[in-house]
Subunit: 410 residues, 2 copies
């Protein structure tokens, strides 16, 4: 099927059917999870061919992300089963107004419609994205990166067989068969067919979507996260938090990339940081930092780079005001943290820093759907419209007004 | 000042200042409203020159929209004072989670930042948009149509003098000085400077924004609104509602444009509709309709046209299912209504029709910020992301997570 045909069928299914009730969706999710595990052999065979084709073309880290085994498939199925346990976001009455003229105005949560996801090489995104769309009442149109296409196809085939067992249309979950750039562009410009486009992947993909999409699109993921160590910081706590934010999982978007330090405590604090990171994290310092500790001189772009590695840029600033200014210029509006015992500095920072998540005395690593109590996550929005920060099931809904009357005119 | 300079200053003001408190904003709004009335003479002089320049270039209806007088200026000022009375949308705690690890996660409403509005020739949009942005904590960047530029400039000068009297920066409200297409394009692509772009105006403007904007943009306004008369309709009520929806104010987006009628009651209903509209509204019918009543034959595009006039397209359908299918294909997702006494048909319609406002037995004319209890309106969103239907002050906010800890790491 062409991408256009898939989109047309998806739209038709959405327009012609009433939202599925919660029990129907949850039983179907359990059947899909079972089908995924039952199809493990064919999924692993498909994955093996993906891995063989990709060798030499993508990095070892990416190969590792691509590779599946029985345990990973079971983890994917369990992830789906966990979504079945979450509260159904559809049909919540968000507000209700009974007007003097007798009109009853209800604001009710409803699915968005057709949600397209363009992603790269992690096969688990296929089942994650599919189940989140399905539970939130949307029709999923998945567009996998070419490296993972055979795996994605086998996963989607399993999910479709689960839908069939549940006596539901297989068209709730769709995979675009074309992995060329043309199909991505087609999704970005499918006005009237795609209600939301979510790019999940590297900077290049997200930039292409933001620049070219004419359908509604949510920018996700890039995180140049800052930690500012205030003059009133508990420096022991600061080192501990920075260590966690930098090294607990450097490849993820909520890992810290830049440390800003109040000049007044630089002499005391920087040696502690340096000692903690010695041999583990490369520090890139501005001129002043390099005078105090042994650090590589930071280059021009080091304060605008998402390293996703054991590297951290360090800069001295003149108090919280300059820290806020630096963040306004350089952050990607994902997550930033201040370490301070001074409530006024904390309030100044949280009021002015314009990011999805602003922390006081905690690691930026907490910016995550699970940690924020959403139960799951479709991505982390770094824009301000519709959803900001971790996107869970509720963020995959919109609302409509349903107004009941008995002949009211205006 | 160039548009780029205005945007830079706007962004700097937003990044460097804490949100203004409610009292400060409300007193400033009252001072701006007073300043607007005090400046009536200079505003009227500027408006006179706009009107003289526009004569012969735009329609009489548009000239009438452009024209100001003392009463209209006072109405603009009163509109601002009414916004001062509305609840401040900024700083609402939307949810709060106290985690087991001691983290306190607050989801708090915050301004979007810099909001740009591209509009056309109604000078009252200048003060309306400015005050809604200001009250919701945003920096307004207004870009008026060239026909109304002198009026807009005089209005903004008055508002800035009000801000000055309130000892606030005049940069909270800005008017782009260039009215060429270049300045509109500049706003559409000012990534990193414009947090939300709202086009208010005709179809061409909105289409240009949706297609060219790389900054977040909300599609507003176009309304091809449908009323479906079910076989179980109270036909007297149906005529009354359609009359109101079509004729109470045909030039607005919530006016009805298309009437769908269940074939089973066409013989009974259509003559009543025809009698009511005789000499007042031109009916354009499909072949079957033209056999029953005296109507002009509908052309190919008549079911996809926002007439904004005393014209209505009429079509017979085979029950609520076909009505829903027709609406899915032809509506602009603004407002649609079903007239029926059958609860099942009503539920089928409200569940499936994918529009911002779906009515049962009421006029589509109620889709309005004031009627929906929002107190005011920045426009009516016909898209699904962020805001749907009337946009009030809350819809001009986003949220951020503020997380307080005492050393938590993950």
């Amino acid at each position: 099927m062409t991408t256009a045909e898939i989109l047309k069928k998806a739209k038709e299914l959405y327009s012609s059917s009433a939202p599925l009730d919660t029990d129907t969706k949850n039983s179907a999710i359990m059947l899909m999870a079972d089908a995924l595990e039952s199809a493990a052999d064919s999924i692993l065979a498909a994955n093996k061919s993906d891995v063989e084709n990709a060798r030499g073309k993508i990095s070892d880290v990416m190969i590792d992300r691509l590779k599946l085994n029985k345990d990973r498939i079971s983890a994917m199925a369990d992830g789906m089963r966990a979504v079945a346990q979450l509260t159904d976001p559809v049909g919540r009455v968000l507000s209700e107004t009974k007007c003097e003229n007798g009109l009853d105005i209800k604001k009710v949560s409803v699915p968005l419609g057709v949600v397209a996801i363009i992603y790269e090489s992690r096969p688990n995104v296929t089942s994650d994205a599919a189940v989140l769309c399905f539970k939130s009442g949307n029709i999923a149109v998945l567009r996998s990166g070419k490296e993972a296409f055979c795996s994605a196809k086998a996963v989607v085939a399993a999910l479709k067989s689960g839908l069939k067992k549940a006596n539901l249309s297989e068209d709730y979950i769709n995979l675009v068969e074309d992995t060329s750039r043309a199909s991505a562009n087609e999704l970005m410009t499918a006005t009237g067919y795609v209600d939301l486009l979510i790019p999940r992947g590297g900077k290049g993909l997200i930039k292409a979507c933001v620049e070219n999409a004419t359908v509604p699109c949510i920018e996700t993921g890039t995180g140049i996260c800052h930690i500012y160590v205030d003059k009133c910081a508990d420096t022991y706590m600061a080192v501990r938090i920075i260590d966690n934010a930098k090294t607990s999982r450097p490849s993820v978007c909520n890992a810290a990339e830049v440390c800003l330090v109040d000049r007044k405590i630089a002499d005391e604090f920087l040696p502690k940081l340096s000692a903690c990171f010695k041999g583990r994290v490369e520090l890139k310092g501005d001129t002043e930092v390099c005078k105090i500790i042994d650090a590589a001189p930071a280059g021009e772009n080091d304060f605008d780079t998402e390293f996703l590695d054991y590297i951290m840029a360090v800069k001295l600033v003149d108090g919280v005001e300059e820290a806020v200014r630096h963040i306004a210029e350089h952050s990607t509006h994902h997550s930033e943290s201040i370490i301070t015992e001074d409530e006024k500095a904390a309030a100044y920072f949280t009021e002015r820093v314009d990011s999805a998540a602003v922390y006081v005395n905690a690691s930026t690593r907490f910016t995550d759907g699970g940690e924020f109590g959403l139960g799951c996550e479709m991505g982390i929005s770094t824009q301000k419209l519709h959803a900001r920060g971790p996107m869970g099931l509720c963020e995959l809904n919109t609302y409509k007004y349903i107004i009941s009357g008995n002949g009211q005119i205006r």
